[in-house]
């Protein structure tokens, strides 16, 4: 159904994701070549949303693995259900089952807890799922190394059971906030795309799509204001997610136009560092509001 890049753009839009041609091309190629997507960008530019939208478009199951430091095979791939195993051993002991047989039995799939990566390559899924490996930069090098093998062969070896291979390789999206550099070896296996902050037109469309209650004029002012903020020297730039939060907040407050007071009171939805808030609050906010209302 997704036969061209335009198809991808259209499909994404139908699912309320406003993309640009670069991203759509990457997604299209990822699907065609069966390669994982590696999406990098500032926080809140819609990296995770790409995976969610893809799952909706493909009508596939979304399997999400949130990364963190120390993430290991036991939480990412599989784990044996120890308490069940212990109970079962006791049970078998009471009924007098042989040792070898007991060993075979308690390491059977019945006692296997499937974590996200194993779920993603399970072969009883009707179609390839969408696998989201979120914020890979939070994990450590050891986990990255483990992913290398998985992403190229789509198979997992469990010593007690054997090697499991995916019937259909999952559509994989890896995201990173770039809090550290990811090793080249991993990036090499993926299609890389840097998602930038959107320009005015794109962000305006995003606000209209995601916050349909927002009046036209307000939406324009909001986006202009945020675009101006991104031009300033801030410790943490507001992302698209913050723009949407702020829009929703202003709609909830029944605003038709930006005003200095309301901006000052709701800056917390946009800026997350006190230094940034104090920098913008007051004079800067007044000037920005004036400029935004004039245009």
């Amino acid at each position: 159904m997704l036969q061209s890049i335009d198809d991808v753009i259209r499909a994404l839009e139908q699912h309320q994701y406003i993309s640009d041609r670069g991203l759509a091309t990457t997604i299209f190629l990822g699907l065609k070549l069966n390669k994982p997507l590696f999406l990098e960008g500032e926080a809140g530019v819609g990296k995770t949303q790409v995976a969610k939208t893809l799952a909706a478009i493909l009508d596939a199951r979304l399997i999400r693995l949130q990364c963190y430091e120390g993430l290991d095979v036991n939480t990412a791939v599989y784990e044996w259900n120890y308490s069940q195993q212990m109970l079962h051993i006791r049970l078998m002991e009471a009924t007098g089952v042989g040792r070898e047989e007991a060993r075979r039995e308690i390491f059977s799939p019945q006692f296997l807890l499937k974590r996200p990566l194993l779920q993603a390559i399970e072969d009883n899924l009707p179609r390839a799922p969408v696998l989201l490996i979120d914020e890979i930069d939070r994990s450590d090098e050891e986990f990255e190394a483990y992913l290398l093998e998985l992403l190229s062969d789509w198979q997992i070896t469990i010593p007690e059971i054997g090697t499991l291979k995916a019937a259909h390789a999952p559509v994989t999206v890896v995201t990173s906030n770039r809090t550290r550099e990811i090793h080249d070896a991993l990036k090499r296996r993926c299609l890389y795309h840097w998602i930038d902050f959107p320009n005015f037109e794109k962000e305006y469309r995003i606000v209209l799509t995601k916050v349909p209650d927002a009046p036209d004029r307000l939406a324009q002012q909001i986006v202009r204001f945020v675009q101006e903020l991104r031009r300033m020297e801030l410790y943490k730039m507001p992302g698209v997610a913050e723009t949407l939060d702020w829009s929703a907040a202003l709609v909830a407050l029944d605003q038709q136009d930006l005003s200095e007071n309301v901006v000052n009171e709701t800056l917390g939805a946009l800026l997350k560092y006190q230094d940034d808030v104090t920098k913008v609050q007051g004079a800067v906010a007044r000037e920005l509001v004036e400029r935004v209302r004039k245009s």
Binding site: E69, G70, Y82, M86, I89, M92, I106, R178
Partner: protein, 410 residues
């Protein structure tokens, strides 16, 4: 064959290794004893590699092993075992005594010939002392007074220094013999043979990793006399440690981590020179640190990094920015160390505006003007462990020279 003495020493050695943290058990000692049947123990290298192959299990072990090996097998009492004189089978316990600076074994029936040789030994000792004192002079000499030859000698000495940054506990667990957490997977597996009675436990505990070291180095005009040696020093740091990020600043910030990764020091310095455009100019420490905080801090200084700032604190920038950015930097790293080459002078006082603004946020304020000060820096770095220094903004000025200034009587 009498292996008694050797075996006893091997056991003692393995005990030492266990104390310094290697996972060495009696099994490996037995293996090594067996291996030594096939290895010429007279050759120190062979013995070293055999022992290392059996006792070390990961790269981090190697440095510890080397230290322990040197310490143990070079101490006088054990020296005869490694002397290239007798095959192991000829070893027999006998009373020996040693002259002070030589490991040579001298039997009781010392012949006249050997007494004749004695002056030679003495001369050798003298030579050793001479080089020792030359080294000592070089260690204490201020970098800015180095001649070209001394720079070359110091480069070699720098290359021989080993660096270690304190570790932090990661969230990853590794199996250990005795640890803090139960390793359920191994427990179940191990106790299957007892029919589900849990007789043997298995343990795991947090894996430790060395902390990231971030170096911010001032290359402005006032630092020029020290820049060359400090670059050499930073190069040995980044080649000797696993995670080092290096930046230079004068009026702007330049990342030179990639350039310094070249093994050859002269190549690396050449690359750095090409990359940096503000050699020997003015300094804007505050703005440079701000740029680091905004652009790099969250990318390179994750998870409890140790940050080194090397600068004399002569700042032409805005003081308010410096103090605000230093505060942010200190809050985001595990330990903030300021190295100042001028601190080596006995009557130096950190009175410049920049330093006064920055020092309240500095955890350690240390000199960096000669090799000895680098060695003491090495000791500080290796001691950065779990305990974070108390940070209540009550920075204490170091005793060097300053107590004199404060106390009019002295």
């Amino acid at each position: 064959m009498n292996h008694g003495l050797l075996l006893k020493n091997l056991v003692l050695f393995s005990r030492l290794l266990r104390i310094v943290g290697l996972d060495v058990g009696p099994g490996q000692v037995i293996d090594l004893a067996a291996a030594l049947e096939h290895v010429n123990i007279g050759r120190r290298d062979d013995f070293y590699f055999a022992a290392r192959a059996l006792f070390c299990h990961r790269r981090a072990d190697l440095a510890l092993f080397d230290l322990a090996f040197k310490l143990f097998w070079q101490s006088h009492r054990l020296a005869p075992l490694l002397m290239p004189v007798e095959p192991i089978s000829a070893l027999r316990p006998k009373r020996v005594r040693f002259p002070n600076a030589s490991f040579r074994e001298i039997p009781f029936d010392e012949t006249a010939e050997e007494i004749k040789r004695a002056p030679q030994t003495e001369r050798m000792i003298l030579d050793v002392q001479q080089t020792y004192s030359a080294v000592e002079v070089l260690r204490q000499k201020d970098f800015e007074a180095y001649s070209w030859e001394e720079v070359q000698a110091a480069k070699q000495m720098l290359a021989q220094m080993t660096w270690r940054v304190g570790t932090r506990a990661t969230r990853r667990k590794i199996p250990v013999r005795h640890g803090t957490h139960l390793d359920l997977r191994r427990v179940v597996r191990r106790n299957l043979k007892y029919g589900g009675e849990f007789l043997q436990l298995a343990w795991k505990q947090s894996k430790r990793k060395p902390r990231t070291l971030v170096v911010l180095c001032d290359i402005s005009g006032s630092m020029e006399r020290y820049t060359r040696m400090i670059l050499h020093f930073v190069h040995t740091l980044s080649n000797g440690l696993e995670h080092v990020e290096t930046f230079l600043f004068g009026t702007r910030l330049t990342r030179i981590t990639r350039q310094l990764s070249r093994k050859d020091i002269d190549d690396a310095v050449g690359e750095v020179t090409k990359a940096v455009q503000d050699w020997g100019g003015g300094t804007r420490i505050g703005e440079s640190i701000k740029e680091f905080n905004y652009r790099w801090l969250r990318r390179v200084a994750r998870a409890g990094a140790v940050v080194l700032i090397i600068s004399d604190g002569w700042d032409r920038g805005e003081v308010a920015i410096l103090s605000r950015e230093m505060e942010r930097l200190q809050k985001s790293c595990f330990r903030l160390i300021w190295l100042n080459p001028l601190l080596g002078a006995p009557d130096y006082q950190p009175l410049t505006q920049g330093l006064r603004a920055a020092l309240p946020y500095v955890d350690d304020f240390l000199p960096v003007h000669n090799l000895a000060s680098l060695e003491s820096l090495g000791r500080v770095l290796s001691r950065v462990e779990e305990a974070r220094p108390a940070r209540r903004g009550n920075f204490k000025f170091p005793k060097l020279g300053l107590s004199k200034a404060k106390d009019p009587e002295s």
